[in-house]
Assembly symmetry: C2
Homo-oligomer: 671 residues x 2
């Protein structure tokens, strides 16, 4: 590249873009780790986007109608941090840039939404950002339809790299966005032809332009260092009727000795080479120093959207009080008061009726009463709508001709679905839930982990949660998946036993602000075990005494979901033999773990033998069986220790020995 020509052609643009490059080089050198080349390569695109197009106000990072900027190529985090610093975001003074990648800094190795305002999503695991962006764009469409263009009308811009586009989840995102004609979604592809291992063609020769077109996108191809071309492409993209991809031919580590090489992808810390690059740029200030006029030009960019924001605030003030309050409640993610009352009414009705239904059906019963009073819920399924029971009567299908629809046919795209839900939750104004089979949490796993890390209250409706799925066999039968979900920090895993517990689990999930929930639900019917109506949400404590010992307590049986009924049967057998037996229902281990010692000891007192029963692996159970510090009780577990098999559900429960007889026998063996 002829750096000199770039410098002279657009001097003001050049100095702004160079500020990004210089800060990147300085921060990576100080941290002695990170990725220099990507920010250096995409600085021009980002400079034009922020300077001329992105609707934002650095002083109001939470303005609901701002455009969203998503750095899917999250390793290039210094691009984002530089922009946030330069445009004047309060969370990003120069000290944060100096402190790049150090403990406690807002400038973590990869952008983390929960550390600072201005970071819309957490990226780094490749492909997630572009898939989140689909959710952001859906959320915007729905809010625009619901509240009108005056309150919601913004774009979602994404920078994606070659890595993002190689990850399978990108295909799920691209094809879903194309199908839904998300015209306010604009993806910049950083086409630098470099990955960690070498040039892209070592591993990939996909014609990305043709690929995006095949999924219904408009595509433009430009020189990613030409500010005029960049500007024109964005202007055109903003007017498109379909999702927009702008393929930007760039040079990674532009102007550095490592330009256009895989070395340029990583940390460029050689002092002489840094100095040489800065000289070529015409950048003469010291490390972390930005010339006053350049900083001032950038700060002007940071203020550019203030007027538009004031106008938006005026429009918000002008709408009816009712609409404004509803908009604000929705964006804040606060559940309406009515939620508690419809849940309570359903619990009362269900405890009286004593339905024996599958908990996936119970979940549908809950959604039927919840969705009408929570207009912010957006449901969906990965092509298992009838099986996941996630579509209620009033939702309508979100589609090109119905942007108010609240049910999304995600297609057979569990991973893209989960990542899109993350995007909706991050956008705000939407409370997303969606379903697939519990076993296919595997496919969604990278995005489910990010729900937890990003502190987003997404609800995963995972049905067919054990060998109770039956004939579809071991490929479809979760065995280790409860353990996997429970092993993940900041995740609530609910395995409710009947309609009442399912309603309680949903109530908790829908009132979370910073924690995702996994609802593990049965395919098969389960008996009603909560026949005695209690206003209080017993699931909130994670575990509680469902049935007390009829005589001196010698055994405690602990169970979840479809196995609570089995534990109750086993209790009958033991009591008939004079063995006093308590049954503890434990719909949520994480909530039980969060209770104080006194409560936990009250539910699981030391002494009586303990048998846990769950149609999954033992992992995760020992803590409740033996006590945190050991020595509390003799204990046994009845569950799975291998993959399942293909046969009717009842046959499998017998075959794998998950029966009341087995539970009772284990208890007796311990006594």
């Amino acid at each position: 590249m002829d750096i000199a020509a770039l410098r002279t052609a657009h001097p003001e643009h050049w100095s702004k873009a160079t500020a990004i490059r210089a800060l990147t080089l300085d921060a990576v050198a100080a941290a002695n780790s990170g990725h220099s080349g990507m920010p250096m390569g995409m600085a021009d695109v980002a400079t034009v986007l922020f300077s001329n197009h992105l609707k934002f106000d650095a002083s109001a990072p939470l303005w609901p109608d701002r455009d969203r900027f998503i750095l899917s190529a999250g390793h290039g985090s210094m691009l984002l941090y530089s922009l946030l610093h330069l445009t004047g975001y309060e969370d990003f003074p120069i000290e944060e840039i100096r402190n790049f990648r150090q403990l406690g800094a807002k400038t973590a190795g990869h952008p983390e939404n929960f550390l600072a305002h201005g970071i819309e999503t957490t990226t780094g695991p490749l492909g997630q950002g572009i898939a989140n962006a689909v959710g952001f764009a859906i959320a915007e469409e729905i809010l625009r339809a619901r509240f009108g263009k005056k309150l919601a009308d913004h774009h979602t811009y994404v920078i994606a790299g070659d890595g993002c586009l190689m990850e399978g989840v990108s295909q799920e995102a691209i094809s879903l966005a194309g199908r839904l004609e998300l015209s306010q979604l604009v993806v910049f592809w950083d086409n630098n032809n470099i990955t960690i291992d070498g040039t892209v063609d070592l591993a990939d020769r996909t014609d990305q332009v043709a690929r995006f077109k095949a999924s219904g996108w408009d595509v433009q191809e430009i020189d990613g260092h030409d500010p005029v071309a960049i500007d024109a492409a964005i202007a055109k993209a903003k007017k498109g009727k379909r999702p927009q991809m702008i393929a930007c031919k760039t040079h990674i580590a532009l102007g550095h000795a490592a330009q256009d090489t895989s070395k340029g992808h990583g940390a460029l810390t050689d002092k002489d080479q840094m100095q040489a690059a800065k000289e070529a740029y015409g950048w003469t200030t010291g490390p972390f120093e930005v010339p006053a006029e350049v900083k001032s030009a950038w700060e002007e960019v940071g203020r550019r959207g203030a007027e538009e924001r004031f106008a938006w605030e005026g429009r918000l003030a002008d709408v009816s009080d009712r609409k404004r309050e509803e908009f604000e409640r929705t964006m804040a993610g606060t559940a309406p008061k009515k939620l508690a009352s419809v849940i309570r009414a359903l619990k009362k009705q269900a405890s009286e009726a004593g339905h024996s239904v599958a908990t996936r059906k119970a979940s549908e019963m809950v959604l039927e009463v919840v969705n009408p009073v929570l207009p912010e819920t957006v449901g969906g399924s990965a092509d298992l709508t009838g099986s996941n029971n996630t579509k209620t009567g009033d939702l309508g299908v979100f589609d090109t001709d119905n942007r108010e629809g609240r049910f999304i046919h995600y297609g057979i795209r569990e991973h893209g679905m989960a990542a899109a839900m993350n995007g909706m939750a991050l956008h705000g104004g939407i409370r997303p839930y969606s379903g697939t089979f519990m076993c296919f949490t595997d496919y969604a796993r990278p995005a489910m982990r990010l729900s937890a890390l990003m502190q987003q209250p997404v609800v995963y409706v995972m049905t067919h949660d054990s060998i109770g799925l039956g004939e579809d066999g071991p490929t479809h039968q979760p065995v280790e998946h409860l353990a996997i979900s429970r092993a993940t920090p900041n995740t609530l895993v609910f395995r409710p036993a009947d309609v009442v517990e399912t309603a309680e689990a949903w109530e908790i999930a829908l009132t979370q602000s910073g924690t995702p929930s996994v609802l593990s639900l049965t395919r098969q019917n389960t008996p009603a075990v909560r026949r005695d109506h209690k206003t209080r949400n017993l699931t909130e404590q994670g575990a509680y005494v469902l049935a007390e010992a009829g005589s001196k307590r010698q055994a405690i049986l602990i169970a979840t979901g479809s196995e609570v009924g089995i534990a109750m049967e086993a209790r009958d057998m033991l009591e008939a033999e004079g063995i006093g037996t308590r049954v503890v229902s434990m719909p949520c281990m994480e909530l039980f773990a969060a209770q104080d010692d006194a409560y936990r000891k009250r539910i699981l007192p030391a002494g009586p033998v303990r048998v846990a029963v769950e149609a999954g692996v033992r992992m995760g159970w020992d803590r409740w069986l033996m006590g945190e510090r050991g020595r509390e009780a003799k204990a046994a577990f009845v569950g799975m220790s291998s993959f399942g098999a293909s046969a009717p559900a009842e046959v499998l429960y017998d075959h794998f020995g998950i029966t009341a007889e087995a539970v009772a026998a284990q208890a007796k063996a311990l006594l």
Copy 2:
């Protein structure tokens, strides 16, 4: 569809294809579950493929040079079972068809490779089959290059549905196959426009033809019910120079009342409708009855390849003894004797030298001595070659101009990589291993589960296995991933402490025949803890006493990987205070669990307090801390209970309290 016209146009073909449709209807009706429509829709394609092209001999299902047939749309399992029954596979008498989806049957809900010969891979989780197929095709290319066309020259045929093509993993598979120009791979797309929720365009409008072309495939579009067109397309595909996609326009549940509807996707069990369909087909025999002449025509198909097989066996007999023995050893997956000796030599050298290296580097040291003596290993990385240390000097890169290369640049495609490795292992003749960061086991998870279910000895080289990864931060730091891997049945999870343990872990992994291994390896250096050379592989017992208490045993510290050094330091502190402390290194929990009680009690005797230390979540540890049945010991755990953070590794270990001081303090608190 005009069924009558189809019947009369090609009567012999029609009756063969109809046998598949009738058996499918009968088996699904008997099971009262399953998927009727897909086999009914693709019966014509399958009939032509098996009758005219597929190189196979039903009496020799393990013939190494057979063509591979992979039903990626695994829910249509009755298509495969019908074909295997009709052509005369020993494992598939009519009783198996009658017993569809019942306990103990070889005809599980979805095809399971480990139940019967003739099933090449386990499918059902969508997209896996097409991704496996890439591995099958790579294996064939490598074996052809290594042993010559006379011994290896076959095709891999795949039937994939709309669901397979919507899953992101299909994009990873397609783009990798296109890049590698796998010309002996032929994919039939069952273009029936139906998914469970409705027509495909509910969720997808991707132009699949354009999409495959964008990744370098040749594509043909045909009527999937026209046997002449099908035959011509396959003939043409076999001559192609690139991977081949044949888009087959089909009617799901052809000839049934549910044809072309999503109902047709599922179990069609209505008796009258079944009867009507059979009448339209001209099929007059009773349930599970195939007219003798039709069965005989199919059995002839099953014998069609016998001559070719005899010829192949003749060619194998003609090669040198050395080559034949090597071919047979390779296909059998038996490790050469030299493996043990190179491992032993490395262990001796390493225990003497006392290298303090990262275990990912230790793994490279092992591979440097192993790869030259195991020509069947095929390594790779998902674009982290230099970080995963999986490429040794002698491997060469597998590419279009080097089919003997044994290192694969999989690109940023962890899921596709894992699925391709499954395919290579299933094909036989290849022992695949490959790497990414441990945290990104999340992306590969659906295929890793299938390695375990399918009993394939794939080796996952997962580096950067804790917060020791440092500045890249929590998106890249595994916390729950050891628990996830350990929760999965039939998986060996190794977390070796130093070069010696790493060599032992590799030796075990490379001699497995039915179990995958996950090697969890550090980014950062670890001290040598095995300084005393032992010929015996101590890792084989899963855990062993690394250091005995210097005085009366009061505490046992248990650790893995990078934390073994910490445990040794803590022991020094405790011993200095007169507290006799044993250190147990536990590189593989699964192997320890497989030891007899006596051994386990010898290593972990009841009584002394126990402290485990591992830079991951506690889940999975309690069993070793408190004992299987509880009450064995007072215990504590030092590890992670949240996501990590972005900072240098040493800072993080201090910040999260994973230190020798903390371990010693926990032990003292329990005493």
